[in-house]
Amino acid sequence: MEGLLSFQAETRLGAFTLDASFETGPGITVLFGHSGSGKSMTLKSIAGLLRPGRGRIVFDGRVLFDSTAGVELPPHHRAIGLVTQGNTLLPHLDVRGNIEFGIRHLGRAERAARTASLLRMFGLEGFERRKPRSLSGGQQQRVAIARALARQTRLLLLDEPFSALDDSLRNAMRRELLRLRSELGLTILFVTHDLREAHFLADRVAVFDGGRVLQLGPREEVFRRPASRRVGELTGVSNIWEGSVVAVDGESVTVDVQGAMLRALPAGRAFAAGERVDVMVRAERVNLRRDMQASASRRNTLPAAIVAEFAYGSSHVLQMQPEGPGPRIEVEIAARPYEVLGIPERRLFNLEIDPADIHLVPASAAGGGGTMS
């Protein structure tokens, strides 16, 4: 496949070991994880700025690094574009000089044509003669991305490129990146530790933890069906409980969570009665109902009272305690439904959870997930 990146590397750096392997293709792959989880090391290894102890890195059928075959292309022969968080424009060159820095070997006409088209693409026409210092943070990062693309790279490596920008600008830049992705069909690796940014940009997500890739998959799969409890924790699943399977009926699995019987539909995984599992429900997948009848549908319903709530502006987070047995459940509800349901005046609601939104994985202690404590 065109634009395919295959990465495998083992690198020891002090007490830290990066031992990651993954494959991905065109579109935006977000490398997500806490700082120090190995995301940036991965990017540097691909760029050729860090030599893996062992491994093999191939892009578009071209071997960039192979420890067994003794291949190690220097960074500027890898045809990659790198943009980092800080201002990395050359302060003594103007915008044109910066964009043309990596294509000096081309003829004058070719250079001018490429620069002109990049300036147009990034809305930087008229800025050719400006020095980086006279540009805003957003303009600087646009020039940095234009410069990275000037070498007609098919692989763009972005290491938290918008983190130093202020909020509104960051959002505009993210949208611009999405536009760029659809226009150019590039393979883009985007490093971030910001969950919202990861969700917003990702076609695919690679979840890093302790130097390993715990899961790589399409965005919805990673967010809705984390492969392990640890992935759930990292991707912001706020309801994670220990439970045990009490009954299996075809597709449907009933689990006991602290005395509450919940019906789940774990697609693609078989469970047996008596098996210990981790049960995960994202806070935004829980529905609140005013009517207290048990639902006629096959959804899980659970009367529960609000014990704490937090306002985030666009949404509210409620902590709810079931009336009967059951775990404390965190619910996220958008600002408008919050008002419509009259939540400020009322404490008791019926919680409704679709069985498809209850995700089960084998209990982490027994599941052999490895990095979980």
């Binding site: 540097k44 760029a47 050729g48 700025l49 220097p74 960074p75 500027h76 890898r78 990659i80 574009g81 790198l82 943009v83 980092t84 968080q85 800080g86 990395t88 050359l90 302060p91 003594h92 820095f101 990596g102 000096r104 940095a144 410069r147 990275a148 070498r151």
Partner: protein, 118 residues
């Protein structure tokens, strides 16, 4: 030396990394590192020159004061004083002072610009 070294050390490693993905080592050195460290390199050269202006003992011992060959301004001042030509000694001393002032002014400009860049 230390001033020159500081000039290279204060270059953002991120900037050098990103540059290395676009150009080979030689170009990164000549077209990125040198221009960025340039004010410090000029400052270092000026400081070295200013220090050498005041050097007397080492010059006399190592190179002596051969007119037209190894006679430096400080040595010439000494010779003039010894020979009783105080007018020449005064002129040379004033000249040295003037050179010193010019160098200090140049340093102030160069260093000031370096800080402005950071």
């Amino acid at each position: 030396m230390r001033t020159a070294q500081a000039g290279f050390e204060q270059i953002d490693p991120e900037l050098l990394d990103v540059s290395a993905t676009m150009a080979g080592r030689a170009r990164v050195f000549w077209e990125v590192a040198i221009p960025l460290a340039w004010p410090s390199l000029v400052a270092a050269a000026l400081i070295a020159f200013a220090r050498s202006l005041g050097e007397f003992g080492a010059t006399i011992i190592v190179a002596a004061s051969i007119p037209g060959e190894t006679r430096t301004v400080p040595a010439a001042i000494y010779d003039a004083t010894q020979a009783g030509d105080t007018a020449l000694a005064h002129t040379l001393a004033l000249l040295t002072l003037a050179i010193g002032v010019v160098i200090l002014a140049a340093l102030a400009i160069v260093l000031g610009r370096r800080q402005g860049n950071g």
